[in-house]
């Protein structure tokens, strides 16, 4: 069975630069994602997705593959427990395209193991995260992203 791919897309009334910063800056990501994204965002560097509850626990980590501000970010994505399992490493691409006065942010998550726990988590997670990001960037307030989870 081929690896699973998911594509999520949202329109946000903001500049590409602001959306880019909102994906990379831990202060921003903590507000709408509940996690801090930490890296120097250079190709080849590691990135970490740390819980924003003060524990600093790493939920996801990976490598920066491509970072072309403010249009395209490609990273790998893995549970820290699967560190020695390249077969469980997936890949996330963020595409930021300006359209009129807005941007279309598209998240492509590929190389996922079909039926895996990670597939289940990301497919309920991305819509929440993107909707909360949009709310933060358009109204100044994030949504309770993980309420009811």
């Amino acid at each position: 069975m081929p690896d699973a791919t998911f594509v999520y897309s949202i329109y946000i009334a903001q500049s590409p630069e602001t959306v880019w910063k909102a994906l990379l800056d831990g202060e921003f990501t903590r507000q709408y994602w509940g996690h801090e994204n930490v890296s120097d965002w250079r190709p080849g560097s590691l990135w970490e997705h740390r819980r924003g509850d003060g524990s600093g626990r790493i939920s996801i980590l990976g490598e920066v593959i491509e970072a072309r501000a403010p249009h395209r970010l490609v990273i790998t994505w893995a549970d820290p427990a699967d560190r020695g399992r390249p077969d469980r490493r997936s890949r996330v691409t963020f595409d930021i395209e300006p359209i009129a006065e807005m941007v279309r942010l598209t998240v492509t998550h590929e190389d996922l193991e079909p039926g895996s726990e990670m597939e289940r988590k990301i497919s309920s997670g991305w819509p929440r995260v993107l909707s909360s990001l949009k709310s933060l960037l358009e109204t100044g307030r994030p949504l309770p992203t993980w309420a009811g989870q």
Partner: protein
């Protein structure tokens, strides 16, 4: 901005909901694959997919010469956040207040 009307109009059709079901079962299909097990002509499916794409419920990606269709549930999440998560939020607040009251009683 995707007009909410477009989302509801797109969903108000059985064939289009079937197409979304097919993508939910198996994401990233070509037009040919989508038509294979549906009682739908290629032309009708193309039209329906156009409506779903305009509502942003389906997004497409090119892979080589193929055009793949993906289910994008984000507009549905936005609808949920607009009308439903508000209630979740007040439930969370009520639970927090209850917890504080109970803990206050304990320390009093």
């Amino acid at each position: 901005m995707v007009d909410t009307d477009l989302v509801f109009k797109a969903l108000a059709d059985r064939s289009r909901r079937l197409l979304l079901d097919r993508l939910n079962e198996h994401n990233g299909q070509t037009l040919r694959e989508l038509c294979a097990h549906l009682d739908m002509t290629r032309q009708a499916a193309t039209q329906h997919l156009g409506v779903l794409e305009a509502a942003h419920l389906v997004v497409t990606k090119r892979r080589g010469r193929e055009k793949l269709h993906f289910l994008n549930p984000v507009p549905l999440q936005e609808i949920y956040d607009r009308w439903i998560s508000r209630f979740e939020r007040s439930r969370v607040r009520a639970m927090r207040e209850l917890k504080q009251r109970l803990e206050g009683m304990k320390s009093a």
